[in-house]
């Protein structure tokens, strides 16, 4: 009993329960067929959402109104930049990775400059900058579809025992991010700023440096996502990031991170990412029409968050 109620108090438990239910429903429908394959597919596609979700989580945790809407554009720019630089050559793999990460640094820095120097609210700042970033991607890449270097393509699609290698790597990344959040000065600072920015400043936290790092981190993770996503799907495209706009926010919040800031949760992001993929899969499997599928997706998201309940009222 005690263990159950303790578990129920974990904010991430609901996303895992949700994914279990959805998976069971799917497997029941197919008569037990393909259960493992579905999970494996969820792992390989959920990975990308997790990468951007981790960055988005830190941003959202720095307080209400903080969100990074430039993630899709960053994915597109970083992916096409890297593919062009590498030109399909294995030898250029590291150069490509560095270029892609630098692209993230540039976007993150630009976002923060808008927020800090021009005092533009983050939602609008990152939205505006995403337009500029997308334009850069268009002007530079013109949607060029260059094949990724074979080594990158093989790595991003490799599997051991039917588990995508990339998922294992990103699981490691998630553990690292969890440590970063809970056990480092940076992570503590993010949590403090999210609760009360002024109090954080007065408690000696370098508020602005931390916010800068946070927007940087988010953009760098987005560009990393663009890099591996382009490798995984055989090249970059201008609209390859589009679906990660809402998805990155959804997995963070369904995963138990507080949108009011100051409370974050890493395991929940994995649960929520898998849940979101399995949800679509389930509805596809049921053969639901587009309208019904959309409605069910929405209602299930609302149901999960309602059951999980919101933030407990404070004194």
């Amino acid at each position: 009993m005690g263990a159950i109620s303790k578990l129920a108090a974990r904010p991430w438990i609901w996303s895992y329960l949700g994914l279990l239910v959805v998976w069971l429903a799917t497997v029941t429908f197919t008569g037990g067929k393909g259960g493992a394959e579905i999970l494996s597919a969820a792992l390989s596609f959920g990975t990308f959402t997790v990468i951007v979700g981790l960055g988005q989580m830190f941003v959202i945790t720095t307080g209400p109104g903080n969100v990074d809407l430039s993630i899709p554009a960053t994915i597109a720019l970083s992916g096409s930049l890297a593919m062009k630089v590498m030109g399909g050559a294995d030898a250029m793999l590291l150069v490509g990775l560095v270029v892609s990460l630098l692209c993230g640094v540039a976007v993150g820095g630009f976002n923060y400059a808008l927020i800090r120097l021009l005092r533009i609210p983050p939602i609008i700042a990152t939205l505006s900058s995403s337009f500029l970033v997308l334009s850069t991607a268009i002007a530079y890449g013109r949607g060029l579809k260059i094949k990724p270097p074979p080594m990158l393509a093989d790595f991003t699609t490799a599997r051991v025992f039917d588990i995508p290698v990339l998922a294992l790597v990103v699981a490691g990344l998630a553990v690292a991010m969890s440590v970063l959040l809970n056990r480092t000065i940076y992570g503590r600072s993010v949590l403090a700023i999210g609760q009360n920015m002024r109090a954080a400043w007065l408690a000696g936290i370098p508020v602005e440096r931390i916010r800068f790092l946070t927007y940087l981190l988010s953009a760098v993770l987005a560009s990393l996502c663009g890099f591996v996503l382009a490798g995984f799907s055989g090249g970059a495209s201008l609209n390859m990031g589009e679906e990660y706009l809402l998805a990155s926010i959804a997995v963070v919040v369904i995963g138990g991170t507080s949108v009011a800031g100051g409370r974050a949760n890493v395991p929940g992001i994995w649960g929520a990412a898998l849940f979101m993929f399995l949800l679509v899969t389930m509805l596809n499997t049921f053969g639901a029409s587009a309208g019904v599928r959309l409605i069910m997706t929405g209602l299930i998201i609302v149901a999960v968050i309602t059951i999980a309940g919101g933030d407990k009222p404070q004194r």
Binding site: L118, R119, I120, I124, L127, F131, V253, S289, G309
Partner: protein, 311 residues
């Protein structure tokens, strides 16, 4: 007296209007033809539904929530308007009332379970879109004639969109900013606990605000099909971001119940005009999207200047 006029608060309040004027001046300079009844009418027509959606968003932001579903919701009401409302008016009106009620219920749910509005409305955005796709599987339908007539009305001297925007701004200003209950509603955004301690029902306040948002969402959808004469489930997807940007451009803030209906309407007009401005500028297609971002940044940078002067 002068000190009051030049106070930071007054400057901040004047900023949305100032940026609109600057933008208009720039447009008139580049394209003098825009400076006419016909020109203003054309440029500002689509500002009316955006202004209504922005007001809807403003009601939600006023109580520290954020509505990520207003765009698809406007799309849904537009779809209902172009199908049910035209074919069987009674059913259509009932459906639209149902939409408003659904919004109020959403507010109640968010309050009851203390849920983050962002997630709930994110989920609902799929629901609205799904319902719209079912009602209107392919773009089409026809708007009822009276809506088209209202939206196409030709007033003497002043173009209809300007009059409509002024009416929207004033009505909401009076209701939210000047009325006695309006003060309570906004107070809930500033310090909900204090409002609760004064004996007001926070549940009711949230339901009222969401219902108001729903109502303006419906109006936005209807005015939109009055202009387009047909609907499309995706017709207003982007209104979500527009409406948020409009509220902020208009001087509103995400938390603390600081919003301004007049500012929000001005923000919506500004957003609409940035599009026109860009087209008049004739930039290379590659950079047109980016230029939209750049203009948003420039307009908002003005805010920063004033804020800096505030110290």
């Amino acid at each position: 007296m002068l000190a009051q006029v030049l106070s930071p608060r007054a400057l901040r309040a004047a900023l949305p209007a100032a940026s609109l004027v600057v933008l208009l001046a720039a447009i008139f300079y580049i394209q003098p033809r825009a400076m006419s009844y016909f020109g203003l009418n054309l440029m500002l027509q689509y500002a009316v539904p955006i202004a209504l959606a922005t007001i809807a968003q403003m009601f939600v932001i006023a109580i520290n929530d954020l509505d990520l579903s207003i765009g698809p919701f406007v799309g849904l009401t537009a779809s209902i308007g172009a199908t049910l409302l035209a074919s069987s008016p009674v059913l259509g009106v009932l459906a639209l009332i149902g939409c408003v009620a659904a919004y109020a219920a959403l507010g109640a749910l968010i309050h009851w379970r203390n849920l983050p509005s962002i997630v709930v409305t994110l989920g609902m955005s799929f629901v609205w879109l799904g319902v719209a796709v079912i009602i209107l599987p392919t773009p089409g339908g026809t708007a009822p004639g009276w809506i088209k007539a209202v939206m196409g009305v030709k007033l003497p001297y002043v173009p209809f969109p300007i009059v409509a925007a002024a009416i929207i701004a004033l009505v909401v200003h009076v209701v939210l900013m000047r009325s006695a209950y309006g003060a309570v509603l906004r107070g809930a955004g500033g310090n909900a606990r204090a409002i609760g301690r004064a004996g007001w029902s926070l549940l009711k306040i949230r339901m009222v605000m969401y219902a108001a948002a729903g109502t303006f969402g419906v109006l936005s959808g209807l005015s939109l099909i009055g202009l387009t004469s047909a609907a499309d489930a995706h017709i207003a997807d982007r209104y979500t971001l527009y409406s948020i940007a409009g509220v902020i451009l208009g001087g509103g803030e995400f938390v603390g119940g600081r919003v301004s209906p007049i500012g929000a309407v001005l923000g919506a007009l500004t957003l609409t005009l940035t599009g026109s401005f860009l087209i008049f500028l004739k930039i290379s297609p590659d950079w047109q999207i980016g230029a939209q971002g750049a203009i948003l940044i420039i307009v908002l940078a003005l805010r920063a200047l004033i804020k800096r002067r505030e110290g």
